[in-house]
């Protein structure tokens, strides 16, 4: 069997005062659509940042596409949409088109210009998120939800094999959240893009995902979503600290805790 695309081995991470991750091991295989669930502060964003190489684990190691992440050279294979980008500079004078083209920078390579068909690739990516007609608009004049779609287009434009998304639907309205997850599911199905998604939209996402990971410093569950009902109430309690929505297909239709 081919190596997992992302292989986390015994990873721990501590911030100056807080322990965020405690001996996490988990593998993401090609074609997975994985949702990482957990309460606020459970280490979800930290785990994604470790996958992306933005921070180094205090202990343990990460392999990407079978290669130790420190030696991994093809970051353009991994697209990233960060949690409600506060890292980006909101008054930046650039068009949507320019921002999305930035997603091709790594793929084009240092000392190389962006490819000739950049405009066309950007258009395709914007089309996939329903933002084609905004391509000449200024990024700072879009709503939060529209900006988020542009950032997804920026992640898609380099045709990544894996897409890592941290609460991408924050600020997107309910109808569009549905459409957004349909879009992700289509990317997963049709282009075989592996997806790692952190979200609190448990109900909306369950129909579309293949795998679930329940995180709270440690992994409380990781596997096919249909096996999630095997988690006992005590295990759930240990994971979330209080009772949580059960994922609906355990009891047929939507059940609320």
């Amino acid at each position: 069997m081919a190596a997992p695309l992302i292989n986390i081995k015994e990873v721990s991470y501590e911030y100056e005062q807080t322990k965020a991750l405690d001996h996490i091991s988990m593998a993401v295989e090609e074609g997975d659509f994985l949702a990482i669930l957990g309460p606020n502060g459970s280490g979800k964003s930290t785990l994604l940042k470790i996958m992306l190489g933005l921070i180094r684990p205090s202990e343990g190691s990460v392999e990407l596409f079978g290669v130790d992440s420190r030696q991994f050279k093809h970051r353009e294979w991994i697209g990233y949409v960060s949690q409600k980008s506060n890292s980006f500079n909101s008054a930046f004078p650039a068009t949507v088109q320019e921002v999305v083209a930035g997603g091709l920078a790594k793929k084009a390579g240092l000392f190389h210009k962006l490819p000739k068909n950049t405009a066309q690739q950007v258009e395709e990516a914007l089309n996939a998120v329903g933002m084609k007609s905004f391509k000449n608009r200024s990024i700072s004049e879009l709503s939060g939800g529209q900006q988020q779609r542009v950032f997804i287009a920026r992640a898609l434009v380099a045709k990544p094999k894996v897409l890592i998304l941290d609460e991408p639907t924050v600020g997107i309205d309910v109808q569009n959240v549905q459409a957004f997850y349909d879009m992700l599911a289509a990317l997963n199905r049709e282009r075989n893009i592996t997806l790692v998604l952190v979200t609190h939209d448990v109900d909306t996402v369950t129909d579309r995902i293949s795998h679930v990971a329940c995180l709270n410093q440690t992994i409380h569950f990781h596997g096919f979503k249909d096996q999630l009902h095997m988690m006992s109430d005590e295990e759930r309690e240990a994971w979330y600290g209080h009772s949580v929505r059960k994922i609906h297909h355990t009891e047929g239709s939507h059940t609320h805790a």
Partner: protein, 284 residues
């Protein structure tokens, strides 16, 4: 004016340097402004002052250094200052902006000591503080031209990386761009531009030539590329108008250049306001 330029070497030097600076200062300034590093430009210019004052002092007291162009020490201290700022920014992780007042006061502190140690270069010093039309040498021009080649090459080679890094540095790092290295080079290039622009606009006003034309351009530009071109355009208009006025009325060019750039800014702001209220009027 044209025959004056043709017949006086000093004017050729000043205008040629001015034209070059009018391109590179706003060009780099675009990245400085969007990355919110304007204050770093200020801190570095004051560190350059320390280098210049130190060099002027050394050339008085150490015979062998009498002919050394103060720009060299100015450039060296500016580059050193930029690295110190980076160092301090990583030490004070959560108070990154603290690095700026620390370096800025260090620059003024050393500058003041060297200035009081050596007496009698007040006219030279005035030129370095507020710019000069008459004292730009051929050598100064060559240094400025050399700096321009470095800056233009840097921006041309790393344009896409600089763009991504300026827009969203976390994304730049996550996508595997060598963000750290490019930022490091960027700081050095910034130090060079500041030291180079200083001859014409003066230490105290260097950062304005890097920021005001950009502030103006951002009010009207529709894209990042447009912001760059308009910044350069506004920068050039300011430098040329400023130099001509400074020459005719015997004023410090730093002052006339910066005042012109502020005038352009006001015109653009007023124009925006009028066109906006017209639009509203038409809509109502």
């Amino acid at each position: 004016m044209l025959d004056a330029i043709l017949s006086y070497e000093f004017l050729q030097n000043a205008f040629a340097s001015g034209l070059i600076i009018g391109v590179i200062a706003p060009l780099l300034g675009v990245f400085i402004v969007v990355r919110r590093l304007s204050l770093i430009a200020d801190a570095l210019s004051h560190v350059t002052l320390a280098g210049i004052a130190g060099s002027l002092y050394l050339s008085q007291s150490v015979g062998a250094l009498a002919l050394l162009n103060p720009l060299y020490l100015g450039i060296a201290s500016s580059v050193m200052g930029s690295m110190l700022i980076e160092r301090l920014r990583s030490v004070y992780k959560h108070y990154e902006e603290l690095a700026i007042p620390i370096i800025l006061s260090a620059g003024i502190g050393f500058g003041a000591i060297f200035i009081s140690l050596a007496e009698g270069f007040s006219s030279d010093l005035f030129g370095y503080l507020f710019g000069t039309v008459s004292a730009v040498s051929r050598q100064d021009l060559f240094i400025v031209a050399g700096i321009a080649v470095i800056v233009l090459a840097f921006i041309r080679i790393f344009f896409k990386e600089l763009f991504v890094l300026s827009f969203d540095d976390e994304y730049a790092r996550a996508s595997g761009l060598p963000a750290k290295w490019i930022h490091f080079l960027f700081m050095i290039v910034t130090a060079l531009v500041i030291a180079g622009s200083m001859r014409i606009v003066g230490i105290l006003l260097v950062s304005s030539l890097m920021t005001i034309p950009v502030a103006t351009a951002m009010r009207v530009a529709k894209s990042f590329k447009q912001t760059i071109w308009l910044s350069i355009l506004f920068g050039e208009i300011s430098v040329l108008t400023g130099l001509v006025t400074a020459f005719y009325f015997d004023l410090a060019p730093g002052g006339t250049i910066v005042v012109t750039s502020i005038a352009i800014l006001l015109v653009i702001l007023a124009y925006r306001k009028i066109s906006l209220s017209k639009k509203r009027g038409a809509a109502a």
